[in-house]
Each structure stands twice: as C-alpha cells, then as structure tokens.
C-alpha cells in the first residue's frame, strides 16, 4: 500500500546563515541586538543556520588550548532563539568528528553546497534528514497580507483571516468572532471576540476604535471583559508583553 498521507521529497531553500566570529556570547548578543533593532520584523521567526567554521580558528588561536568541545552549542542555540529566530542547525566546513559531535548533541548539521563531492556522498543521507527538518521548521511567513472586511460583523458571524491580518471597516457585534493569524484592526467598536496570532504569533496585536470586547486573545493569552476595565470604551491596541496582555491607548 502506498503512503497516501505523506511523501518525502528533496527541496532546496534559501536560508539565512549567521556567521559567528567569536566565542564570546556577550559580544554576539550585543551585535545581534544592534542588527535586529534596525529591522525587527524582517528577522522575526526567520529560520537561521549558524555557521561556526570561523570559531574553530579562534579556538585554536586562543591561549587556553581547548578542544572543539569548548564551543557551547546549546548556548548558541538558546541565544539565537532568544532573538526570535527559528534555529535550524549548524553549518560550516567542519571536521568529520565535529559534525558527528554536533549530531550527537541532538542538533542538525546542514551541509553547504560548497562541500566536496566526496563529502556530499557521505552526507547525502544526513542532508536529506536535515533538509526535511528544515522543511518542517520553516514557520508561517511573518509578513502577513491583509484580509479586508467591509461592513459590520454581526452576532453569530465568524470571520477568519487565515495566514493574514484582518482589517474590519465597521464594528464587530457582541456574539461575533474575528480571528486572524496576524493582527486584527477594527475601525469601529469591538464588542465580540477577537483572536489574533491564532496560530502562535507572539507579536500579533489587536487595534480597535472602541474596546468593549467579550474576549481578546493574542497567541493563546486571553482577557475577558473584566480585565479590560482600564481602557473600556476607548480607542486601544492590545499587545503581548512576555506572556502578559497589555492594553495601551491609541490616541
């Protein structure tokens, strides 16, 4: 019987590669923060491969003679993820032992096209594994397009902007439900339920001209009406701060 539900295929992807030049995590953190501050949306949830081949020379040249093990792979992954990248794996022209070590630690090693043909053959099998992993780890495009709804959304109606932001030009009645994988904008009163970042988007926000909602939710964190007293009946946007919802006045 054929596998009707799944199929394996090789695909190539353009992935961002982060070249590390130092082992000093504090320096990396500072530089990353600077870089990301320039374009936070561009980097959000971008799948990233970390190239560590330049680290080896710095390890060798350092006075304390240490082995390859001194690269703290776990710390690098944690650091990268702290900046909201989606960590895919490590890459670089590395010795066989080091690649082995990386895999033993539970990370995937992504082969570069530059690798020699001989190496390619050796790693053909692993490359497929790595690529498949890449495929599953690539998240939803973070730059959402807009779904625009003109007119009031009445009680009992539900509008879902799948993989999009939702813009409602009108009010959302009590008993109605608006859902978006991205942000929700209501140019009217929000009296029903609004669920933004429905598929897990931490930075999703809800904007409305008049907040009288039954429920607002971002990335699974929700408020019922009673939590909205502070900005009730005013123009507000709601956002997520760590795992706490926050509301701020629009004007």
């Amino acid at each position: 019987m054929a596998d009707a539900s799944i199929e394996f295929k090789g695909s190539s992807f353009t992935l961002s590669v982060l070249y590390l030049k130092t082992l000093n995590l504090a320096d990396i953190r500072a530089d990353l923060a600077k870089k990301i501050a320039q374009a936070p949306d561009f980097f959000y949830l971008v799948p990233i491969v970390v190239n560590i081949e330049m680290l080896n020379s710095s390890v060798e040249s350092s006075f304390e003679s240490t082995t390859d093990n001194s690269i703290d792979y776990h710390a690098i992954k944690t650091l990268v993820e702290a900046f909201n990248f989606t960590f895919v794996g490590f890459t670089g022209s590395l010795a066989k032992e080091q690649r082995q070590l990386i895999r033993e630690l539970g990370f995937s090693f992504v082969n570069t096209a530059r690798a020699s043909t001989a190496e390619k053959q050796t790693f053909a099998k692993q490359a497929v594994t790595a690529q498949t992993e890449t495929q599953t780890m690539v998240p939803q495009q973070p730059l959402f397009t807009d779904k625009i709804h003109r007119g009031q959304i009445r009680s009992g109606q539900q509008v879902y902007a799948k993989g999009q932001n939702l813009v409602v030009i009108g009010s959302v009645s009590a008993g109605a439900e608006v859902i978006a994988d991205g942000n929700i904008h209501v140019y009217g009163s929000l009296r029903g339920r609004a669920i933004a970042g429905a598929k897990g988007h931490h930075h999703a926000q809800i904007y409305c001209q008049n907040l009288e909602a039954e429920l607002v939710s971002i990335n699974g964190n929700y408020w019922l009406s009673e939590s909205m007293e502070q900005h009730w009946s005013s123009p507000v946007y709601i956002h997520l701060n760590d795992s706490e919802l926050m509301s701020s006045k629009l004007i």
Partner: protein, 269 residues
C-alpha cells in the same frame, strides 16, 4: 413591482405581528394595495390582531400545496378594501413551506399588490428564513433591551447572508430599525437602552420608535390594529412609520418623557 417587506426580529414577543398589522393597515389606508402574510405557521396570530380570525377558510399552506387558490385563501379586510390577509395554518408546522412554492405565491401576489408584508415567526430557523428569503426590505423590530438587540443583530447577519438578494449578489436588503415598547422615562432612569444605544449597536437607519402604550394591548385584544387608534401615542408613532416608508421625512416623536403639568399631577391626569 411590489415591495416585499419582512417584519422580523429574532426574538419573540417584541411586537412583530402588532407592527405588521399596523404597517399593513397604515399603508392600505394611504391607498396602497397591501397583502399581509402570516409566516408563523402553527402559531397563527396575525388574523387575531387583524380581527378576521372567524373568516379563515383556507390558509397559506393550502395555497402552497395547491389545495386552494390564492383568491380563495385571501381575506379582504372589512375596514379597508385594498388590504388582504393571507393567514397561516394553525394545524401544520413550519416545514410545510418550501422556497420554490413560496416564491411562486409571492410572484403571483406581486402582480396585484403594491406591498407584500411578511410577518416572520421568531427564531432563526426555517420559518424565519423563509419569511426573509424573498424580501426587498426588512423592518427589524427591536425592544430597547440587550437580548432583543443581540437577536436583531443576528437576524441582520442572516438578512445579509441568507436572503435571495444575498445569494444572487443583488443589491442587499434595505434594513429599517423599528424600536418598539420604548419608554423614555425608563431610559432616563437608566433602566432601558436609549435610541442612540440601539442605533450605535445595530447601525442601521431608524424607521420608527413606538412608545410603550396601553393602547397596544387593548388594540390586539379587540382585533383593531393600533394604528386605527389615532388618539394614542403608539398609533401616531406607527402613522409616522408609514409616512417614512412612503419616503417622507418626519421628525421622531415620543423620545422624551412627558413632563407632568401641575393640573395633571393634581387630578391624576
């Protein structure tokens, strides 16, 4: 072309049948040919309010099933000859109607009448959907009270999505808000939603505000639509509704509580 107007609400007991009767009779009094259809199959009421319950021989379901002709089933109003009533069946249920046959009956009626007023049953099930399906306009009857407003909102959603006009992508049903059982005194005391509150939530044009009135119950029991009671505030408010339906601009009345003068206070006016 006849204007098909559905009188609907979602919630029961808000005054759909009272309003249908008043609007039907009011339009007829202005010289229009009007037919009132009771879509509330199984809970026949319109004939009672119209005072013609003893003259029902055949009903809407008989016509749908081809057991009677329209002329046999239509009851001519004794007060105004240009008004006819198509009563509901008391013995059947709402499933007795089907879209195709209702469409045929409405088309037939459209040939000889100016207005077809469809008195919808409460709820959002088949019967209510049938009543609104062919409508050109809708009079959404609402009490100034949260559950009624919520249900009206739901019905407005249905009007925009489940009607023939919506299905064929035609110009949407023209929606009118009719606020009934309005008590300015209770609004001032904060017990009742105000006209502005309801307009804000439903955001459809206001057709009329009918004040809470003793005259309505009296009229219903007597089988004389309240619009005939020209002395009552409710009757006058319905008269304004008719004028607005016919395209006139009329100021809204009965929106503020009457201040009792010293004489009426002394003599219990």
């Amino acid at each position: 072309m006849a204007r098909i107007i559905v009188v609907t609400s979602g919630k029961g007991g808000v005054g759909k049948t009272t309003s249908s009767a008043a609007i039907g009779l009011g339009l007829a009094l202005k010289g229009n040919k009007v037919v009132l259809i009771d879509f509330d199959i199984g809970l026949r009421n319109l004939d009672l309010i119209m005072g013609c319950e003893r003259r029902v021989v055949y009903d809407f379901v008989n016509v749908i099933n081809g057991e009677a002709t329209l002329n046999q089933a239509l009851i001519k109003d004794k007060r105004v000859s240009s008004l006819s009533i198509l009563p509901a069946s008391q013995t059947r249920d709402k499933d007795a109607l089907n879209k195709e046959n209702v469409g045929k009956v409405l088309e037939e009626l459209g040939k000889s009448f100016d207005f077809i007023i469809c008195d919808s049953p409460a709820g959002i099930e088949a019967g209510a959907m049938m009543a609104l399906y062919y409508a050109d306009e809708a009079v959404v009857t609402t009490n100034p009270e949260v559950s009624s407003v919520r249900d009206s909102d739901r019905i407005l959603g249905m009007l925009a999505s489940r009607s023939r006009r919506a299905e064929l992508g035609l110009e949407p049903i023209k929606e009118h808000l009719l606020l009934t059982r309005y008590s300015p005194k209770r609004v001032e005391e904060g017990e009742m939603l105000s006209v502005e509150d309801v307009e804000d939530i439903l955001s459809i044009p206001l057709l009329g505000v009918i004040p809470e009135s003793q005259a309505v119950l009296k009229a219903s029991n007597a089988g004389e639509p309240v619009i005939l009671d020209t002395m009552s505030d409710a009757g006058q408010a319905y008269q304004d509704v008719i004028d607005r339906l016919l395209g006139e601009t009329v100021d809204f009345r009965f929106l503020v509580a009457e201040k009792k003068g010293i004489f009426s206070r002394m003599f219990g006016g």
